[in-house]
């Protein structure tokens, strides 16, 4: 167990619909998804005493407390790194509950990042504020590298070139995840699978790395989870999903997304640092995982996380994928909600609740008998398990 105090569990999950135009404020999305998660858990909103989110969320805790009628919020945390911090929210919520400084922690994310602004397109400096973790971002702007896709592609190019990973190889990720999304009624791409030829025919976004179908969506939506002690979880209405390990890493000279200055561009150093830590915390190994959600803002990051979290050697993910790794009947089905590419991009959080669904046995693409699940967001990782 990675936390020295009380054992900890996820007892509620909630989300709004995933759309391209929610028609309501980001605060309303936050309130709706948080209430849904609390109702799923069977916990009175007034009793929430902790809140965790991560940077680039426009909502304040104050507004969300006002909506939910929270009496006394004892603990808050806002994790750095944008989407890279999504899985790290579990670390903070679990640490708060395990130590006893909070009993009922809501983790939320709510964004209109398609209708209110365009998250994947150039913006006037907003992405360079403190807490985002992309501290060298502004120096890329005059050179025309102005979007998240362009930055990710720059850091992925050397990896792909060195190991002979082609854009067609990346397409295996998109095809797999769109197949999962096609069977998931919550997914924006429900009923819309793609073929590898569709992927190869989609237009270049950043040549020669990313086509349109290598990129996650821009979505409107909100997602929330409720974390409490395992002891209390056993008296609540849902099957508890334990947080067995959760951690994150910021190695020297790393950044989020504009990660050009680390020593070795061939590996995700941050994932390499965090992976052994979470498996050690949980007393488990990669081979023990029944299902995984790898942060998939762009397809190359999926291959690099499969490698960095210990499922194969560096450079071997493309061959693993070609052999069917990730499929529902494979050694490790992953991104079974369709991921951020197929379901929605609520900055990673919608994939975290898919791990919970898998361990409850309620996924639309259920992995038979799933007991242990991995969630990763680059520099953060968590291992969840059934009670």
């Amino acid at each position: 167990m990675g936390f020295n105090g009380r054992d900890v569990a996820i007892v509620g999950i909630g989300h709004t619909e995933y759309s391209k135009n929610s028609g309501r404020s980001e605060l309303q999305l936050a309130a709706e998804c948080s209430l849904a998660a609390l109702q799923d858990a069977g916990i009175e909103p007034a009793d929430v005493d902790g809140m965790v989110t991560f940077t680039i969320d426009n909502n304040d805790e104050t507004g969300l407390c006002r909506c939910l009628g929270v009496r006394d919020l004892a603990y808050t945390a806002r994790v750095p790194g944008g989407g890279a911090g999504s899985v790290a929210t579990l670390q903070h919520a679990a640490a708060a509950v395990s130590s006893g400084i909070a009993d009922t922690v809501v983790i939320w994310r709510a964004m209109n990042e398609r209708s209110q602004y365009r998250f994947g397109q150039p913006s006037a400096g907003g992405a360079s504020t403190a807490g985002v973790g992309a501290s060298s971002l502004m120096s890329a702007i005059p050179y025309g590298a102005q979007s998240p896709g362009s930055w990710l592609a720059l850091s992925a190019q050397k990896y792909m070139h060195t190991y002979g990973v082609t854009n067609r190889d990346l397409g295996l990720v998109s095809v797999l995840q769109r197949a999962y999304a096609a069977n998931n009624p919550d997914a924006w791409f429900y009923g819309k699978p793609i073929t590898l030829e569709d992927h190869q025919n989609s237009r270049w976004v950043v040549e020669p790395i990313l086509r349109l179908l290598d990129c996650c969506q821009e979505s409107d939506g909100g997602v929330a989870l409720v974390v409490t002690s395992l002891e209390r979880a056993r008296d609540l209405q849902q099957k508890p999903v334990r947080i067995l390990a959760a951690s994150s890493s910021l190695p020297t000279n790393n950044e989020v997304i504009t990660n050009f200055y680390r020593d070795d561009l061939l590996e995700m150093t941050e994932s390499r640092m965090v992976a052994p830590r979470i498996f050690r915390q949980a007393g488990l190994s990669p081979a023990d995982m029944d299902v995984a959600m790898f942060y998939d803002a762009f397809t190359p990051a999926v291959l690099m996380q499969i490698e960095a979290f210990g499922f194969c050697e560096t450079g071997a993910a493309k061959d693993l994928l070609a052999d069917g790794f990730g499929q529902i009947d494979s050694a490790l089905p992953f991104n079974t909600n369709g991921g951020l590419i197929g379901e929605a991009y609520v900055h990673g959080m919608n994939s975290i609740i898919e791990v919970v669904r898998q361990l409850r046995g309620t996924s639309h693409n259920q992995v038979a008998g799933a007991q242990l699940g991995l969630a990763t967001s680059g520099p953060a990782g968590a291992i969840l398990g059934v009670d």
């Binding site: 590298a145 102005q146 362009s150």
Partner: protein, 136 residues
């Protein structure tokens, strides 16, 4: 790739890197080095991570390096460019990477490890950006 009606946007300096862009305005390609242990560092920062000295100097670099990564952002269209730019990471002789544009090369002709040397390109506001061209 060569003649653009549009020019790149001006750099957006901060307190740590303004010397880089001001050097470029003068036609100098500078790097940051610790005055105590002489280690180069990038991106710029006020403290040396090796010896923790606050001493920093900005010295002329060779301006030579090799291509370590390259991409062409096609969509959305980049501000300041009529056609998609060739964006590169250059591994400098001094042992660290910088981001820049590579001029005078078609994207299909770029190769990993291609030797390049620095030049300067004017921005829309009359400043200068360090850019690279193939060596020789």
């Amino acid at each position: 790739m060569s003649e653009q009606a549009q020019k790149p946007v001006d750099p957006i300096p901060n307190m740590e890197d303004k010397w880089y862009w001001e050097g470029a305005d003068r036609g100098e390609f500078l790097g940051e080095r610790c005055t105590e242990c002489r280690a180069f560092r990038h991106p710029p920062r006020p403290m040396c991570p090796h010896c923790h000295s606050l001493g920093r100097e900005h010295v002329a670099l060779s301006g030579k390096g090799v291509v370590d990564s390259w991409v062409t952002p096609v969509h959305p269209r980049s501000f300041g460019f009529d056609t998609p730019p060739l964006v590169v990471l250059v591994m400098l002789e001094e042992g660290y990477r910088v981001i820049a544009n590579l001029l005078d090369v078609a994207p299909e002709d770029v190769a990993m490890g291609m030797p390049v040397s620095v030049d300067f390109q004017e921005t829309s506001g009359g400043r200068k950006l360090p850019v690279f061209r193939p060596l020789g």
